[in-house]
């Protein structure tokens, strides 16, 4: 049975990919609300769910998510290494939200990687929803 998170707090974070290039890495920005927080579930979104980011950028498509991985750092360790962002997208995994084991992520050292640029375009954004407490 898949348990699902009980959401106490959530925070939507936008990472703009800028000019696309294969193997490009883009770090997360500093997010004060998440500093020292324990994160226990993470989602991504695709353009079929939300077409424009809160900042007005086009959101990557579901196909675009397949081009992007994310690495989450705990302390100095890359505990979640090259995770496919498509695997964090609820519509692609029967509506579920992926849960992790209560980690204090080092957000500013975490980053996305463009593994391919076939389905992403310049200045699109990828949205992450961090569920935390």
């Amino acid at each position: 049975m898949n348990s699902q998170p009980i959401i106490e707090k959530s925070y939507l974070v936008e990472v703009n990919i800028g000019t696309v290039a294969t193997q490009k890495q883009v770090n997360f920005g500093f997010i004060p609300q998440l500093e020292g927080s324990t994160i226990y579930a993470i989602q991504t979104f695709n353009r079929s769910q939300t077409s424009l980011s809160p900042n007005g950028s086009a959101v990557v498509t579901a196909a675009g998510l397949a081009d992007i991985t994310v690495t989450f750092v705990v302390g100095d360790n890359q505990d979640y290494y090259l995770v496919p962002t498509a695997d964090l997208n609820s519509p692609l995994i029967y509506g579920f939200i992926r849960m992790i084991n209560f980690k204090k992520l080092n957000i500013t050292k975490s980053f996305i990687t463009l593994q391919n640029v076939a389905n992403v375009a310049n200045n699109e954004s990828i949205l992450f929803n961090f569920i935390y407490k």
Partner: protein, 131 residues
């Protein structure tokens, strides 16, 4: 999970002509101030194109942001007029929220402008599943 009550709140956009992204207040709902919210979904007749641009932020009575920019479509659990939505396989998202003050909360529309009829327009209902 079992709920003892479902409380529905209409989300009404204030009439006007807006440029750029715009933020709309949610109605003051004192009934929810001392309730424990265990689930939230959104029932809507908003069409596909515009419905993809709304984000909810929920704050508590201390003005603390608990849920920041939650995409509307992540809490739409049923079919809607003008298109079917099954993004989350009809699952009801689980929450544990206390002392939510909707008058401090808001919904934003991201985009290059929006015209809302002078009388205001309802975009749907937020349904709160209470403990």
């Amino acid at each position: 999970m079992k709920y003892s009550e479902i409380y529905s709140v209409p989300v009404i956009l204030k009439g006007g002509s807006y440029t750029g992204s715009v933020q709309f207040a949610l109605p003051f709902t004192p009934y929810l101030l001392n309730k424990n919210i265990k689930g939230i979904n959104f029932t809507t007749s908003v069409n596909v194109a515009t419905g993809l641009r709304y984000y909810f932020t929920f704050k508590n009575i201390n003005n603390e942001t608990l849920i920041f920019n939650l995409p509307m479509k992540d809490i739409v659990t049923a079919s809607e007029l003008g298109g079917t939505f099954n993004y989350i396989s009809y699952q009801l998202r689980n929450f544990n929220l206390n002392k939510i003050d909707l008058s401090k909360s808001y919904v934003i529309y991201s985009g290059a402008g929006l015209v809302v009829a002078a009388a205001g327009v309802s975009i749907g209902n937020l349904n709160f599943y209470l403990a």
